[in-house]
Symmetry: C2
Subunit: 212 residues, 2 copies
């Protein structure tokens, strides 16, 4: 099995190392974060470093890098206190990827990539009309990562919209019918193929397969 150690990391071509470490652990959800600034100007950017933090209260976490196009998103979140997470199906892969281009402060990525903002109730962040799964979140906590200057932003989920066909009767989300888009590294988009759903694991017996 080919391997790399610390010495190799230092000697590797920068782009090779970036690709390797970014894509190492496989696919993450390709989530569009939608925001608006204090004047209502909208912004849209793709993120994949998103974690589930808790179900009660519902909390999510997003890791921001300090030196990227993500800055408009973070500025807007701080300005209004709100953002939304949006999952699109695989047919929108190109639109989703295109939000990572460095558009100027004058243009909205919504218009540039051909997606539509939609405001719900009085929430200060738009969602993406074309998304089959959306969550509107309020900024709750900012946590600096000392090791490399990244920032973990914790959001409290305040509203969820989800297409009927994606919601199972037990509350779990069916990401196969909605063909939720995932991404490996920065540019390699994937959809999901069902393998198996298992019952709660117990030490004294094998797990049972559940209906997907």
């Amino acid at each position: 099995m080919p391997s790399f150690n610390e010495q190799h990391f230092q000697e590797l071509d920068i782009s090779f190392r970036k690709n390797l470490i970014n894509s190492l652990m496989g696919a993450r959800p390709a989530v569009l974060i939608a925001t608006a600034n204090a004047h209502g100007k909208t912004n849209l950017a793709v993120f994949s470093q998103i974690v589930h933090v808790g179900a009660n209260p519902p909390l999510c976490g997003i890791l921001f890098r300090p030196d990227s196009v993500e800055r408009h998103t973070l500025t807007n979140i701080r300005e209004t206190g709100w953002f939304s997470l949006n999952l699109l199906s695989s047919e929108y892969a190109e639109n989703v990827h295109q939000t990572s281009a460095r558009y100027g402060a004058d243009s909205s990525e919504f218009e540039a990539v051909g997606l539509d903002p939609e405001f719900t109730n009085d929430y200060l962040a738009p969602t993406v009309k074309q998304a089959h799964i959306k969550a509107i979140c309020q900024l709750k906590e900012e946590i600096p990562v000392v090791s490399n200057g990244t920032l973990l932003v914790i959001g409290a989920i305040k509203w969820i919209g989800i297409e009927d066909e994606c919601l199972r009767s037990d509350g779990s989300v069916n990401h196969y019918s909605g063909k939720s888009l995932a991404v490996c590294g920065l540019d390699d988009y994937a959809s999901l193929q069902h393998v198996a759903r298992f019952s709660y694991a117990k030490p004294d017996r094998k797990p049972e397969k559940l209906m997907p």
Copy 2:
């Protein structure tokens, strides 16, 4: 589109809410974290709340919940300062899920679920022999999330092992040939299907499709 707001969250059945929030944002890598305690006794547990923190130096982040079977893993990481991340293919879905059972301190999940520990050089954490992608990490930083008592553990990646067929010439990892296992929520395992790989996005043109 069916929707849920804060009022609904409070009224929802606990299990329904847990399923909904856990699985909301789609698939994450189903990663086996392997550790040993100070006496060399091994432990194995499945985690999906893993983020890429940085490529230079190579850093990863894992979110730990305070009240779960994950505790043996966290105790061992603190005891030795080391852990490994292991990705298995979809044919091992049942073995991976079974590591989430609450085995007692006397038994190792490796033996219980039928996987083999393997030690590399002098690193104090084992890897999983059957994994096609593995990374050995050193504990770097522990960051408490005040909002709900979870803990973000930052690890410095010190060694990577990867099957030949999973490594592309540009350094990126091909998770299709290795059929890397992903998981939606707590129990719904998936593999990845390639959609498209795109060139670096620029504001003035459409992205080009790259070879997968």
